[in-house]
Amino acid sequence: MPEIEAPLAILAELTHRCPLQCPYCSNPLELERARQELETDEWLRILDEAAALGVLQVHFSGGEPMARRDLEALVAHAAAVGLYTNLITSGVMLDDRRAAALAAAGLDHVQISFQDVDDAEGDRIAGYKDAQRQKREAARRVRGAGLPLTVNAVVHRQNLARLAEMIELAVELDAARIEVAHVQYYGWALRNRAALLPSRAQLDAATAIVEEARERLRGRLVIDYVVPDYHAALPKACMGGWGRRFLNVTPSGHVLPCHAAETLPGFDFPSVREASLAAIWRSSDAFNRFRGTSWMQEPCRNCERREIDWGGCRCQAFALTGDINATDPVCGKVADRTILEAAVRESAAPPPPLIYRRIGGEQPVRPATVVPTAG
């Protein structure tokens, strides 16, 4: 077993409640209910344990983390124990009072997601009236409170035509950074893949826009770019490697190596109600299962990139192949391209209707069954 380093960051999913219904939400299809959520004092203890374990940053996320009225108290506590605090929000609940309260609590940074630049289209994707305007207002409040802002522009085949304007919006909102994030196909997004995955030509056009903007805005706006795996030649080093940098706590207190890990079969994910964060990080089966390289099969096992991309993404490998131990099928060394080719073919057909994220509104779908070639 390799030496286990301290995690860099914790994703604190405070709640799955959210006013928005984005069809690419990274939450699981089976959303947790409000009554299952951890209490305030449980989160306070998690923040203490995270800091003691060596965690440097806490990302308060959800759902919509602002749906928790104790958010300001949690931010203040995280700041007091030396954690760098980040709020990942839709912005629609961020009024003047809460912007000021969060800044006073010691919040370090805010990331606001944008679904589009066009109001009607943004509201349609979010499934929420007036979302787009409220998000712009929230961004101005964040800057007005003296907090640095990242615009998270989630892009897909239905909004990529407006990517250049989305980058301009980030400049106009005085963001220091924009994350141009192609949808990653897990959970709700996998369910809606045929409606969202861009074509190769759309992706190439988007990449050209990003490269031009990076050069033009150098020193003014940092542009991070996350490409959709399906068009990539190399798999992403998902989470920087399983159990290497990140841990994720769900609203009910389960601790996961990544936010999608509950889609994987055969795991009993530990709970903060039963064990300490340190014990879970260092000793649990869930975190040790895919740590390092000893679990790998070919072509990963002898690959020169095995400690660069760490076998790619376990959730994607399982979702697309049905084998939790398989090499991520995105990898160019995987001989069978039929799964990815089928998905990319969908992107040439007219997009089907969107299935919106709703609590209890969608029956859970076994990941493997949504892939035409795996049925």
Binding site: A6, L56, L147, R220
Partner: protein, 102 residues
């Protein structure tokens, strides 16, 4: 201060580097190392980068930092200056430092 709209100057000997707001140097007890905390990223500076960052106080110029480092490390200032300017330009483009004159 207008961080978004006008292109910043390039880092030169007269620049006065400072950490941007909400960027902080912090000692991690768990790692026994200094780290840089920034929005959604962490930097692990090597000894030289750390020595530079600890002098980015919004008062000292690059020239003053170079003089101090050349003295501390007993190195020729001309060599130190190239390295320091290159490092700070890179950190400026990553949103870690800014020039207090901008």
């Amino acid at each position: 201060m207008n961080e978004g709209r006008t292109p910043p100057r390039r880092i030169d000997a007269d620049a006065i580097p400072r950490l941007k707001p909400h960027v902080r140097l912090q000692f991690s007890e768990a790692r026994s190392a200094w780290i840089v905390q920034a929005p959604e990223r962490v930097l692990m500076p090597d000894d030289i980068a750390l020595a530079v960052l600890q002098r980015c106080d919004g008062v000292a110029s690059v020239a003053a930092i170079v003089t101090a480092l050349a003295s501390a490390y007993d190195a020729p200032p001309s060599e130190v200056e190239g390295d320091v300017v290159e490092l700070l330009q890179d950190l400026a483009e990553k949103g870690i430092i800014a020039d207090a004159r901008d």
